[in-house]
């Protein structure tokens, strides 16, 4: 379809760079971070190019690559992107690029840090690009594991506990999802129910008619397994600890990208192949989504550490993705997919800014601050922008997906949606309250020497903030792309009617 071989470039850049990094002496700091930056720039440039050369009219899977791998088991390294995954690829590239700048001045074991980070990002790229179920699962594992090291070595605040908690939660989720994966493989391999030969190719799997009973359980496995990543209440507790303990760049990737793996996999695999199962469980998902949104917003209200506020707000915002998934229509799912992108950018910027403050003040305790706007006007302005994005202010992108999710889901779950909409109030309260206590009010003399954001610190602010603003003002083409990617999935849902559990 498309002659450009962009995807292997995007995915190989971080892996190759990680490999080369192993051979660079750890004292060559400039070479190390330069290489990381080069890889990030390469991925970002190619992803941007892909974004603009993607044929929006033709829709569907583009930039397809096919490399046979374990043919005995029907596994091959298939790559391809559509309107659902391409924005997420771009999101990953943007956050990696911004993240490299955030860690630009890292001194402690920079080589290992960037190696692990690049591995992780490569894994994430793989998830979003694979069109082979097995490879997709494999890349999820690749993306998850380096995090353990990154948190436990470069982290703060109960980092060992957080790293272990994170790993155990996510691996438990993977285990459950893998059960689903093997069930699918067996089902498809059987000549009675499936194709008669084993395959993991998404295109081939789409040909199989899974029985309603099978769909129920398979979807549940995907929901619980990937729900941990999203995270879905009550499996969300790894998030606040993990986000808070992780170093800034990793928090950005964690909230910006890793959480999206879950949502993406649920939409791509769960909804795509088990629409009946999804419809069966939809009411449950909707209720859990509303709990995510509202309950966690209240939790964020009483946090004392800035990073915990942001981490909890991430869970709350990912609830909108779940709500969009539960409602299962074109509008709500487009909203959910776009919300993943919007929240990724917003959360990354949020963590970058909290990191900036923390790096300089060495505390994140909200009560310790006050009047920082006087000393750090740029940081405080950026913080306000991202805070406003988080509370869904029109003009910044986050408002668009939120509204879209609401407009879709209110047509199916009216009451639950209204309950979720209430989060606009709670979010406004906690965001502005934190902002007021940290940046407004009488200036605390203790922070008089804090330097304002400058130099490389401005890169994430300008890049991420710019994306939020541009897409917020003009979301049309972007949303067209996303809804184009969502449509085939919705088509399958529409053609497979099934009642909900209650």
């Amino acid at each position: 379809m498309n002659g450009l071989h962009l995807l292997p470039g995007i995915i190989l850049a971080p892996f190759v760079a990680a490999l080369i990094l192993l051979f660079i002496p750890s004292t060559a700091r400039n070479a190390i971070r330069g290489l990381a930056l080069a890889a990030a720039s390469c991925s970002l440039a190619l992803a941007t190019l892909a974004m603009f050369t993607y044929d929006n009219a033709a829709k569907g899977l583009q930039f397809v690559e096919h490399v046979p791998w374990l043919t005995t088991f029907g596994i091959s390294l298939d790559l391809g992107v559509d309107g659902l995954s391409l924005p997420l690829v771009l999101l990953t590239a943007i956050i990696l690029f911004a993240g490299v700048f955030v860690s630009w001045k890292l001194e402690n074991r920079a080589k290992e840090f960037f190696t692990y980070t690049l591995l992780l990002v490569g894994g994430v790229f793989g998830v979003f690009m694979s069109t082979d179920l097995f490879v997709l699962f494999m890349f999820i594992e690749i993306a998850v594991i380096p995090k353990y090291v990154l948190i436990s070595v470069w982290g703060s605040t109960r980092k060992d506990y957080a790293a272990m908690k994170y790993t155990l939660y996510l691996l438990s989720g993977s285990a459950i999802a893998f059960i689903g994966l093997f069930a699918v493989y067996t089902y498809v391999g059987s000549p009675h129910t499936g194709l008669g030969y084993g395959t993991f190719s998404l295109a081939e799997l789409a040909k199989v008619n899974f029985s309603p009973e099978f769909q129920k359980w398979a979807f549940l496995a995907m929901l619980v397994g990937f729900g941990v990543l999203v995270p879905i209440f009550p499996l969300h507790r790894w998030t606040p600890d993990g986000h808070s303990a992780a170093p800034t760049t990793i928090s950005m990737l964690l909230a910006g990208v890793i959480m999206k793996l879950g949502g993406y996999a649920i939409i791509r695999v769960g909804l795509g192949f088990f629409p009946m199962g999804a419809q069966y469980w939809a009411p449950v998902v909707a209720i859990l989504a509303a709990i995510n949104v509202i309950y966690i917003a209240f939790v964020a209200l009483v946090q004392k550490d800035m990073k915990f506020v942001v981490a909890n707000s991430s869970i709350s915002h990912m609830g909108f993705v779940l709500l969009g998934i539960a409602s299962m229509n074109a509008v709500s799912l487009s909203g959910a997919a776009a919300q993943m992108f919007a929240h990724g950018i917003m959360a990354a910027l949020f963590f970058a800014l909290v990191g900036q403050v923390y790096d300089k003040a060495h505390t994140r305790n909200i009560a310790d601050f006050g009047g920082l706007a006087k000393y750090m006007p740029r940081t405080s302005a950026a913080f306000l922008v991202v805070g406003l994005a988080s509370l869904g202010l029109p003009g910044l992108f986050n408002f668009v997906p939120e509204f879209t999710v609401f407009a879709g889901s209110i047509q199916r779950f009216t009451v639950i949606t209204i309950v979720s909409v209430f989060s606009v109030v709670v979010t406004a309260i906690y965001v502005l309250w934190v902002y007021q206590r940290v940046f407004f009010g009488p200036a605390n003399e203790r922070w008089a020497g804090l330097p304002d954001a400058k130099g490389v610190e401005l890169v994430p602010i300008v890049l991420l903030g710019g994306v939020l603003l541009v897409l917020g003002v003009w979301p049309g083409p972007f949303m067209d792309m996303v809804s184009g990617g969502i449509m085939p999935i919705v088509g399958r849902i529409v053609s497979a009617p099934m009642g909900g559990i209650f």
């Binding site: 006087k374 202010l393 029109p394 879709g408 049309g476 949303m479």
Partner: protein, 634 residues
């Protein structure tokens, strides 16, 4: 025409962007850019208004902003951004850009020397843009977008002196209180979309009357109305407006008196058909307005802060406007909005002039300013007379119109409320005037009388202009105008039927009498000092305390926040940490503990392993070879 509307809307935004990114260092240049942009908007909006007066056919263009196709039985999303120029919007944009322009000029003097001078003008530009965008919106979605943006500019400007705790607190309170209203608004337009599949005013105006489920429409109308209640600070969302006085005074004049708070009234007027299709909702709107009118006027009686008195007065007058809308007259509501914009902006700017001179806001620490600040004093008096509704000033005509509508629609109770409020209004305004401008100058060690001086021309100029308008603006809604030109305000801005103005002595006379009565009593107490006002306060101590504490509403909300929201947060946080973490950590430690116990079985002695192994084999053989668990033996 629509291009002009877009240009006049975007010009202040451009000014904002230029100031923020390029010129913030050069204060005068920044201010110049903002004023030039707003001046452009003003000129263009007057041009549009004149065009509309000539030919009142609405001009409507829109373009798709976001669209998601539908699939299955679910509505697709189709959002457009548009420009709607009709008499209502052209009038409103003229008011907005006019007041914004005057306020910017005025601020040149008022904000002189402030370190955030450029930032201030940038914010004003942002506000003007948002407000104009709100005015030209052709659908509910776009309205909501700009609705939020004016909320943002209001937040920024209230919290302009952000290093002051009270300003920071007030700005957050304003935003959050508005958010409560916006929550309802958002749900309302989402439901509208669910039912009708569109946000467009014009389409909805056709479809809503044909829709049969009146209950649903009523619900939506009430939900949508919570938006205006928040923005126009109607009870119970009124708490933010008095606190918003923490912002610079010109901002209070622009945002919290003339334009933004009137956005609620504008929205109700814009979506009039939605509200009008359910009489009970109209009744509700009228009563909320009436209640707010008298409620705020009562509180204004005892306040000491000059800006807070004006703020409560604004609340009260906004209540009047909603009363008019609820009673079914869009033109009366919009007419009062227009005149109120002029005289209330004038009063705030006058108050700003006083504050600028004295650096003091407590009216009982001022006095005798009429000699030192004649322009301020007399423009202020004109504004107050207009507000009190004295013939033939602007306020008279619009207030008269509202009372007339109330009476005509058979809302006698609301009519009486209106009259009482008119009396209270006249009283509290002249309490302020006699205390601040006349009477004895307060001794220097208590007050700041000695520093008082008239403000510079950049400040008095707008005052004079506004005073002029406060006198004559009402004429466009008077029977005389109708007689002279054959048309009037009511035939320009109307919904359904044009309303011809007429003077009904049964309304005008009592209204004028109560106003004069109010002024007279204020003069007796605060001018002639026949009765010491302290004694009066002592006499009605419980009532006085109640009013002074604003009926304890703020305290009530603080308690609710603390014991509902915060407690909720704490409980959920506890649940997260204890119950959920407890469960999963418990699972972890259970694994660890059981492992710790089980490892003791690992003795390391091969022989015991062998014993267990053989024992197990023996047991397995026995089980398999007997019928106990269905072994092979038959």
């Amino acid at each position: 025409m629509s291009t002009l509307a877009i240009i006049l809307t975007v010009a202040p935004l451009a000014a904002y962007a230029v100031i923020v990114f390029f010129t913030s260092r050069w204060k005068a240049l920044s201010a110049g850019i903002a004023i030039a942009a707003t001046g452009t908007s003003l000129a263009l909006s007057i041009w549009l208004l004149l065009g509309m007066i000539g030919d009142p056919t609405p001009v409507h263009v829109s373009m798709s902003w976001l669209s998601i196709p539908h699939l299955g039985g679910i509505r697709g999303l189709d959002i457009s951004m548009g420009v709607l120029v009709d008499p209502l919007s052209s009038l409103m944009m003229t008011i907005v850009s006019f007041v914004a322009f005057l306020v910017m000029v005025y601020s040149l003097g008022y904000m002189k020397g402030d370190e955030g001078f450029s930032r201030y003008f940038a914010y004003l530009g942002l506000f003007t843009f948002s407000m104009l965008g709100l005015v030209i919106a052709d659908n509910y979605f776009q309205t909501f977008v700009f609705w939020e943006l004016v909320g943002l500019s209001s937040y920024l400007l209230i919290g302009f002196w952000r290093l002051k705790d009270s300003a920071a607190e007030a700005s957050k309170k304003a935003f959050v209180t508005n958010r409560w209203g916006d929550f309802g608004f958002l749900v309302g337009i989402l439901l509208l979309f669910t039912i009708f599949g569109t946000f467009d005013f014009a389409v909805l105006a056709k479809e809503i009357p044909a829709y049969e489920h009146l209950g649903l429409i009523a619900l939506i109308a009430v939900l949508v109305f919570t938006g205006p209640m928040g923005k126009s600070a109607q009870v119970p969302f009124h708490v933010w407006l008095p606190d918003a006085m923490e912002g610079p005074t010109p901002v209070s004049a622009l945002i919290h008196a003339a334009t933004m708070v009137a956005a609620g009234v504008y929205l109700v007027a814009r979506g009039f058909v939605l509200f009008q299709s359910v009489p009970q909702v109209m009744e509700l709107i009228a009563w909320i307005g009436g209640f707010t009118a008298i409620f705020a006027a009562l509180i204004a009686l005892v306040q000491r802060d000059i800006k807070r008195i004006l703020a409560y007065s604004t609340l009260s007058q906004l209540g009047y406007m909603f009363l008019a809308l609820g009673a079914g007259s869009m033109s009366a509501g919009m007419f009062h909005l227009t005149t109120h914009a002029f005289f209330k902006a004038l009063l705030f700017l006058g108050a700003g002039s006083v504050i600028h001179a004295l650096h003091e806001q407590d009216i009982f620490r001022m006095g005798g300013l009429s000699k030192k600040m004649p322009v301020t004093t007399w423009t202020f008096v004109i504004g107050s007379l207009s507000l009190a509704g004295l013939f033939p000033l602007a306020g008279f005509w619009s207030k008269d119109e509202i009372l007339l509508v109330a009476l005509r629609e058979g809302q006698t109770a609301l009519f009486v409320i209106g009259l009482v409020t008119a009396f209270l209004t006249a009283f509290y305004m002249f309490r302020l005037i006699f205390t601040v401008f006349f009477g004895e100058p307060v001794p220097a060690e208590h007050g700041h009388g000695h520093q008082a001086h008239e403000s510079p021309v950049s400040m008095t100029g707008p005052l004079v202009l506004l005073a002029l308008l406060s006198v004559v603006a009402g004429l466009v809604g008077s029977p005389w105008w109708q007689a002279w030109f054959g048309s009037s305000f009511g035939s320009f801005i109307f919904f359904g039927e044009p309303e011809a103005p007429h003077l009904d002595l049964a309304v005008a006379l009592p209204a004028t009498i109560v106003a004069v009565l109010g002024i007279g009593i204020a003069w007796l107490v605060y001018g002639k000092k026949l009765v010491r006002h302290e004694a009066l306060a002592e006499r009605f101590r419980p009532l006085h305390t109640l009013l002074l504490n604003k009926f304890y509403i703020d305290e009530f909300y603080a308690l609710v926040f603390k014991w509902v929201m915060m407690l909720g947060g704490r409980v959920f946080d506890w649940f997260d940490h204890r119950v959920i973490d407890g469960t999963f950590d418990g699972l972890g430690s259970a694994t660890r503990t059981s492992g710790g116990k089980l490892r003791l079985l690992q003795t390391g002695r091969l022989q015991s392993y062998a014993l267990v192994l053989f024992g197990a084999v023996a047991v397995a053989v026995v089980l398999v070879s007997t019928n106990l668990i269905g072994g092979f033996a038959k």
